[in-house]
Amino acid sequence: MQRKIIAVLLSVVMLFSICTMAGCRRGQKVDNTVSITGDIDLGDDIIEISFTHTMGAKLQDVLNTHIEEFNKIYPNIKITHQSAGGWSDINGQINTEIAGGNPPNIAYCYPDHVAMYNIAKSVVVLDELINTEYKIKGTDERSGLTAEQKADFIESYYNEGLVYGDNKMYTMPLNKSTEVLYYDKSFFTEHNLQVPTTWDELWAVCEQIKAIDPECYPLGYDAEDNWFITLCEQMETGFTSAEDGGQYLFNNAENKAIVKELREYYQKGYFTTQELYGSYTSNLFVETTDKRCYMCVGSSGGASYQMSNNDTPDGTFAFEVGVAPIPQANKDHKRTISQGPSLCILKGKNTSDKQVYASWLFVKFLCTNIDFQAEFSMASGYMPVLKSVTENENYAAWLARGNGYEYLVAKCVQVGIDGRDDYFVSPAFNGSSTAREQVGAMMLKCLSTDAANDAAVDALIEQAFKDAIEECEY
C-alpha cells in the first residue's frame, strides 16, 4: 500500500511537470494609470465601492457619518467598508485579494504595504487624478485637487505618496502619528532638568537622572526599528533607498558606530525598549512607586497608555506628563518619523474606470474634508493632514483643553502639528518591510547580547549587521 501511495504521488508529480512546461499564465496585468480626457461622468447608476481599513468601532462611527455626508454630494456612490483587524492582517488579506484579482477599491495602507501591492501593479497612480483640470460632469467641482487644496496639505505628509522611487504619487495621507517624547514634567521641574532636544542632551539628562534615581531607566523607547531608522535619517548615514527597485544601505561603519554607542548607553542602564524590558515601556513610565522611567518615546497615537492607573479623565494626575518632540542629531536637519494610515486606490481585473473615479472622489473627500479630519483626529489621537484643520473652532477648542485625559492626547497632536515640517518616511519597495524587521532584530541582538570585551562587541555588531543584510538580500 505504501509503495502504491508513493507510485501514485510520483506519477502525479511527473504528469504535472509535463503540463507545466506550457507555462499557463493566469490573469492579466491591470493598467494602473488613469488617463482623463474629459469631464468625469459618473452616470446615474449605483457605483459600488469597497473600503478595507483597520478602524475600531469608534472610528467607524465617525466614518459612517461622513459617508452620509459624502452621499449627499454623490448619491449614486455606494460605499461598503470593513475592518480587516490589525495592520499585518490587512496587509495579508489584501495581498491575497490582489493575487486573486479582487482587491477592494480603497485600502488603508502603510508605504511598505503599497510597495508589495505595487509588485502586482495594482495600485492606481494618482497623479493624473490629482492634477486633472477637468470637472465632474454636471457640477462645478474640479475632479482633481485645486491649488489651495494641495497647498493645505502638510507637505511632508503629502510627499509620503511619492516614496516609491519612481516619482509617482500612489497614496493620499489620511491621518498621521509620529513619535514623541513623553516626560515626567513634575520630576523635571523638581530637579531642574532641561527637556532634551538633541541626543547629546538626552544622554546628559539620562546621566543626571541616573544620579538621582540609580534604580531607574531614564528613558524607555518602544520601537527599536523606528529608533534605528530615525537615527539613520537624522545623521544621513543611509538606511535604504527605493532607487533601482530597492537598495539596502544600512550596512555601513557609521551605523555600526551609532549602534555601538547605543549599546554603551544600554549597558549603563540609560534606557530600555519594549522587547528588552519584556513589557510595554509605558508601564514603566506610568509607574509611581517601583522601578520607573522618566522619559518615554512612543507613538503620539498612544497617549492614553502614558497615563497611570490613578489618573482619571477629569484630571487628577499622579504627576504631570509633558510632551516634546523627539531629540535630534542635527538641529539644522530635523527629522521625525511619520506613521499612520494613508489611502490607496487598488485596481483588479474587474474594476471599472467609474469605480476608480468614484474611489478617488471618496479618498479626496476624506483627505480634504476639514470636519472629517478634525473628528477623526479627536477620536483617534492621530494628527490631521491639513493645516487648516486647526482653524476649525471645535478642533481648536479641543486642542486648547487644559486638563483631563484628552488633554494629553490633544497635547500630543499639538506637538505633532508643530513638527510638521520635519517628517520623513523611509523609502518603500519590495523588501522594505524586511529591512525594517531585520534592523529591529539587529538592534536587539547588538544591544543585549553579552560580549566580553570591546573587540567582541565589534565582532558582535559586525555579525548582526551581516546577518541582517544577508536576510534582506536573500
Binding site: 505504501q2 504535472f16 511537470s17 507555462g23 496585468k29 493575487a99 502586482a120 501593479k121 519584556g278 529591529g440
Partner: protein, 316 residues
C-alpha cells in the same frame, strides 16, 4: 467484502467527495508543485508581469531554499520539537487517561476539565503562556533583581529552585525550546487524552480482572496489558502527533511573537512552516511552495518509517 459488479456505484458514492477534493485539495497541490518549479514566482508578481514575460521553469526555488542560511536551523527546531513533544505528550496523556479511567468520583468533572483547552481559543492561550514565562526587566547580574519573574519562576522559587530566563534576553536555546515543548505538550494533551480515554473505555474489563487475579503489579498491567491493547489508538495519536509537530508554527508565534525567537536572537526558533509563511507574506510563493514540498517529503518519509515501526508493534 461484497463483489460488486457495479463498480460505478462505489464511484457514485465517492463522487461528491472526489469532485470537491479535486477542486479544493488536489488542484491546489498540483498548483503548488507547478509554482515550486517556477523560479522567483510570486502570486502578485505574476499579476504584474508584462505580456509575454514569464517565470523561468526549473529547480531554482528548491536550490534557494536549501541555500537559506537558517534552513538547517529551521529543520533542527522542527525536528527537536517533534521528537520531544510527541513522546512526552503521548506518555502524559496516557498516564492521565489511565488515571482518569481508574477513578470514579470526579471522573466526569476532570474529564471535562482536560477537554477544556480544546474549546478555548488559541489566540488567548498563546498570550497567557507568554505572560507566564515572561520576565519583566531581566537583570543580567542578578536575575532576582528583575522586576517580575513571571509565575513559572515564582513556582520554581517556591520549591527552592533558581529562577532562569525562559524567553527573554539571557535565555538559552534550551530554555526557549523547553518553553515551546511545555506549550505544545499542553496544547496537544486534550485531544490525546480524549482519544486514549475513549480507547481505554472500550477495552474489555475482564482483561484487567484477569491481570488482577494473577496479581499483576500496576506498572506491568500498564505496560503489558493496557498499552498493547491500546496500541491502535497510540499509533494513531503518535502518527498524527508527528504530522502536527512538523507543521508547528503558530505556537511559536504565540509565545515569541512574529520575531520567532527571544529578543537577543530573533528567528532562533523559526521552523519550516514559519519559513513557508514568511515567504508567502513576502509574495515568494515559489519559494514557499518548494519549502512546503520539501517539508512534505520529510513528513512522508517520517510517517512511512513510523508506520513501519508501529506496524510491528501494533496489535489490531
Amino acid at each position: 467484502m461484497v463483489e460488486s459488479k457495479h463498480q460505478w456505484k462505489a464511484w457514485l458514492y465517492l463522487l461528491p467527495a472526489i469532485v470537491l477534493l479535486l477542486v479544493f485539495t488536489v488542484y491546489p497541490i498540483f498548483n503548488t508543485v507547478r509554482i515550486s518549479l517556477l523560479e522567483e514566482y510570486g502570486a502578485m508578481a505574476e499579476m504584474g508581469l508584462d505580456e509575454g514575460e514569464y517565470f523561468n521553469f526549473g529547480l531554482g526555488n528548491y536550490e534557494k531554499v536549501l541555500q537559506y542560511k537558517d534552513f538547517i536551523l529551521c529543520l533542527k527546531n522542527t525536528a527537536i520539537l517533534c521528537v520531544a513533544t510527541v513522546p512526552i505528550s503521548t506518555i502524559l496523556a496516557l498516564l492521565i487517561a489511565v488515571a482518569l479511567n481508574s477513578i470514579k468520583p470526579l471522573q466526569k468533572t476532570l474529564q471535562t476539565i482536560f477537554f477544556l483547552p480544546y474549546v478555548t481559543n488559541s489566540i488567548a492561550i498563546g498570550m497567557v503562556f507568554a505572560a507566564m514565562f515572561n520576565i519583566v526587566d531581566y537583570n543580567a547580574e542578578n536575575i532576582l533583581n528583575s522586576q517580575s519573574l513571571g509565575i513559572i519562576n515564582n513556582v520554581i522559587q517556591f520549591f527552592g529552585g533558581n529562577p532562569i530566563s525562559w524567553i527573554n534576553q539571557g535565555s538559552s536555546y534550551m530554555a526557549n525550546i523547553t518553553v515551546m515543548i511545555v506549550y505544545i505538550v499542553w496544547n496537544a494533551l486534550p485531544f490525546k487524552i480524549l482519544i486514549l480515554l475513549g480507547g481505554l473505555q472500550s477495552i474489555n474489563k475482564q482483561y484487567y480482572d484477569a491481570a488482577k487475579v494473577d496479581g499483576t503489579p500496576k506498572w506491568r498491567v500498564l505496560t503489558r496489558v493496557t498499552v498493547p491493547l491500546l496500541s491502535p489508538m497510540l499509533a494513531y495519536v503518535i502518527i498524527t502527533g508527528f504530522i502536527g509537530g512538523f507543521k508547528e508554527y503558530s505556537s511559536i508565534v504565540g509565545i515569541f511573537g512574529d520575531k520567532m525567537g527571544p529578543a537577543h536572537d530573533p528567528g532562533l526558533l523559526n521552523t519550516m512552516v514559519g519559513f513557508v509563511y514568511d515567504s508567502i507574506e513576502k509574495d515568494r510563493q515559489g519559494l514557499a511552495s518548494a519549502a512546503a514540498l520539501i517539508l512534505f517529503g520529510i513528513i512522508l518519509v517520517v510517517t512511512l518509517i513510523n508506520n513501519y515501526v508501529i506496524k510491528k508493534r501494533v496489535h489490531y
